[in-house]
């Protein structure tokens, strides 16, 4: 076994890696905002009394959760153009990530909503609040506080999953790694470094979310 | 009351010397000395947080002590080198919350350690379990699961489970505190019978009448130390520390 590791040749590609990391971060940031928003809407719809709406959202959630992200991505990027919907690589990546995270966060947030004590909803109603007002001001906050850790894990999973976006040539971190190893022929070192960067991103993401959680939910919400 | 010789020349079965234990910055045991001879029944009383459970749990190594020496039947237990397996075969323990194994029947609860720890064969474990359960009056519940038993019955199974291991000493930590009042008597009855048969017992209890009637010695713990100990009658009637007097007053006021 005469293999000698050589990480030095990676130095030349620092800008490529930086771009890759930045793209992964950007993809994650955008799809987190949109995906969680979709999830909040989805959860509201799933718990609403409008039956058809709840059923449609339920089907969306199950369809997404029971198929691989990679296939969803291919369907959007390669399949949708047949319907005349042509998306740039990054647009397809964001759309796939949003749809994916939207489904999972619908389910997660729904669980939080369903854990809301009935009395609180009745209290809201007795104050003359409308259904949407109760959802917005009474139910959502405590529900988000409760499911924050689960949501964080899911966002980390989506960030890590975005690595397959390299397959539609979205120029994120794993795309950068593929590019570099095709030039310097040091695949092990390149992927090792990329993996370490993903790990750092995951740790950072968890850290940021736990800080955000502490800030947003510190007041008055007990974490059981 | 104990049928066994209690002369001072007998080496104590359990000997605690200068036991210290801290949880973080809080020193819970501040140097406890205690000796229990074979056949003795000792009750520990004291306020909540005075360190009774911690002391009891140290005796079978559930808590690791920070200083001092524990000796059980010649088995020396210093904080560094502990042969827990040997120690725990000599020291049985019964808990407030019973802690029966819910996935096993009463009989299996009793047989498990006989099989895996004592490596006894099937017939022997079965016989031992049957006799242990019979002793606590539950011979007919051999195949019942814990969830099918009352609290009192569960606690009696837990006692049988410890007894079957033939320990030298049995530790009981408030074993009737989690029971409905009407179930307390059946468990105390079992303990009383064990005491009469000469089992060495160290009990933490809030049942003062029981302590007075059954125990050879009362140990009053206060602030991580033994504040006072002696025959129950003396301690109850003529406490020599104000702490104990206050404690007794508090208990009797209940």
């Amino acid at each position: 076994m005469a293999y000698s590791f050589d990480f030095s040749s990676l130095l030349d590609y620092t800008p490529v890696l930086v771009d890759g990391v930045a793209t992964t971060v950007a993809l994650t940031a955008v799809s987190t905002v949109l995906g969680v928003a979709l999830g909040i809407g989805g959860a509201a719809a799933r718990t609403s009394s409008v039956k058809p709406l709840a059923v449609v959202v339920g089907a969306y959630v199950e369809l997404i959760r029971n198929t691989p992200f990679l296939v969803q991505l291919f369907f959007i990027f390669f399949g949708l153009p047949s319907l005349g919907i042509r998306l740039a690589e990054w647009q397809a990546a964001v759309l796939a990530m949003v749809i994916n995270l939207g489904a999972y966060s619908t389910e997660i947030i729904r669980a939080g909503i369903e854990a809301t004590p009935k009395g609180q909803i009745e209290a809201g109603a007795s104050l003359g609040m409308t259904g949407p007002q109760i959802f917005r001001y009474v139910v959502l906050g405590p529900a988000m506080a409760k499911i924050w850790p689960a949501l964080t894990s899911q966002i980390v999973i989506v960030m890590l999953g975005s690595s397959v976006c390299s397959q539609i040539a979205a120029e994120e971190l794993s795309f950068a790694a593929n590019f570099i190893q095709s030039r310097n022929f040091r695949p092990f070192e390149v992927y090792f470094l990329a993996t370490a960067l993903y790990l750092a991103l995951a740790v950072g993401l968890r850290w940021i979310f736990s800080l955000m959680g502490q800030r947003m939910f510190a007041k008055g919400v007990s974490r059981a | 009351m104990s049928p066994v010789n209690t002369s001072a020349t007998v080496r104590p079965l359990v000997k605690l010397s200068a036991i210290r234990k801290s949880f973080g910055p809080v020193e819970v045991l501040k140097g406890v000395d205690m000796a229990v001879e074979e056949g003795q029944v000792v009750a520990m009383i004291g306020r909540s947080g005075s360190g009774k459970s911690t002391l009891l749990r140290s005796i079978n190594g559930l808590e690791r002590i920070d200083g001092g020496v524990i000796e059980v039947d010649g088995e020396c237990v210093d904080p560094g080198q502990i042969d827990l397996r040997a120690l725990r075969q000599k020291v049985g323990m019964v808990f407030q919350q019973f802690n029966l194994f819910p996935h096993l029947t009463a009989g299996e609860n009793v047989m498990l350690a006989l099989k895996v720890v004592k490596k006894q064969d099937k017939a022997a474990t079965r016989a031992a379990a049957e006799s242990a359960l019979a002793k606590v009056g539950l011979g007919h519940k051999f195949d019942a699961y814990p969830s099918q038993l009352s609290g009192g019955q569960q606690q009696r199974v837990a006692i049988a489970r410890s007894l079957a291991m033939a320990p030298k000493v049995l530790l009981c930590d408030e074993i009737t505190s989690a029971l409905d009042p009407e179930l307390v008597a059946e468990v105390l009855g079992v303990v009383r019978k064990l005491a009469e048969e000469g089992m060495t017992l160290i009990l933490v209890t809030h049942e003062m009448r029981f302590a007075r009637e059954v125990c050879d010695r009362l140990v009053f713990m206060h602030g991580g130390r033994i504040a006072e100990q002696g025959p129950p009658a003396k301690l109850f009637d003529r406490p020599s520390t104000p702490e104990l007097a206050q404690f007794i007053g508090m208990v009797e006021a209940r």
């Binding site: 199950e62 369809l63 296939v71 291919f74 993996t195 993903y198 | 827990l84 802690n99 720890v117």
Partner: protein, 216 residues
């Protein structure tokens, strides 16, 4: 090879789906065994074992499956192991599965009341005896629903192995697309095949969980 009927496409996808199923089974079973070892290390009283297991789990849960695949694919040859897409896929998915299952099961072990550890310890049982006879039987009962639930992630995870060239249903989809130029249909069918594999697993995980909650 110019005219493909729907049946041609579907039958080819279904043939490839056998490999998806086989790889999922292998990863799940061997990942389960490895996960059990990892779990035991993770909750053991030996600090170095605990820390090593914790690190392993955090690394595999904090990095993309794709990177794990690449690293295995390129690292195995470095330690002299002849490698194919198939072995790399099996090895990487096994490690991935082991890490997630160990963490799921750790939650189940921690749900066993502390009194069970103390009671078995005070009966002089050693750590392996406690695990084998007292803790695991109780933990595994509550572990069944989330374990079945996680099998869905394993099946979906196999899709990523297409990227290192393992021909399972996703890779077959790409190859058929390249021949038929019908990506909408082909990837739609691929998605439906995964759904047919995963949805029953999701449903049974839910049913098992409901049953467990009723039993308690």
């Amino acid at each position: 090879m110019l005219n493909f009927t729907l049946w041609d496409i579907l039958s080819n996808l279904l043939l490839a789906a056998r490999w998806t199923v086989l790889l999922s089974l292998i990863a799940f079973v061997s990942g389960g065994v490895a996960g059990l070892l990892l779990l035991v290390a993770r909750v053991s009283p030996v600090p170095p074992l605990r820390i090593a297991a914790k690190l392993f789990i955090e690394v595999f849960q904090g990095t993309p499956l794709l990177m794990q695949l690449f690293i295995v694919f390129f690292a195995l040859p470095l330690i002299g192991i002849e490698t194919s897409a198939w072995t790399s896929a099996a090895v990487a998915l096994t490690l991935f599965t082991a890490a997630y299952l160990a963490e799921i099961w750790r939650g189940c072990v921690e749900a066993v009341p502390k009194g069970q550890w103390e009671a078995s310890a005070s009966l002089a049982m050693t750590f392996p005896e406690q695990m084998r006879h007292v803790i695991l039987p109780q933990a595994l009962r509550i572990a069944v629903p989330p374990t079945v639930g996680f099998s869905v992630q394993v099946v979906k995870g196999t899709a990523v192995t297409s990227i290192i060239g393992f021909v399972e249903v996703t890779k077959a989809g790409t190859m058929i697309t390249n021949a038929t130029f019908q990506p909408f249909l082909v990837y739609g069918l691929v998605g439906l095949i995964y759904f047919a594999l995963c949805y029953p697993l999701s449903l049974s995980a839910k049913a098992l969980e409901r049953k467990l909650n009723v039993a308690r």
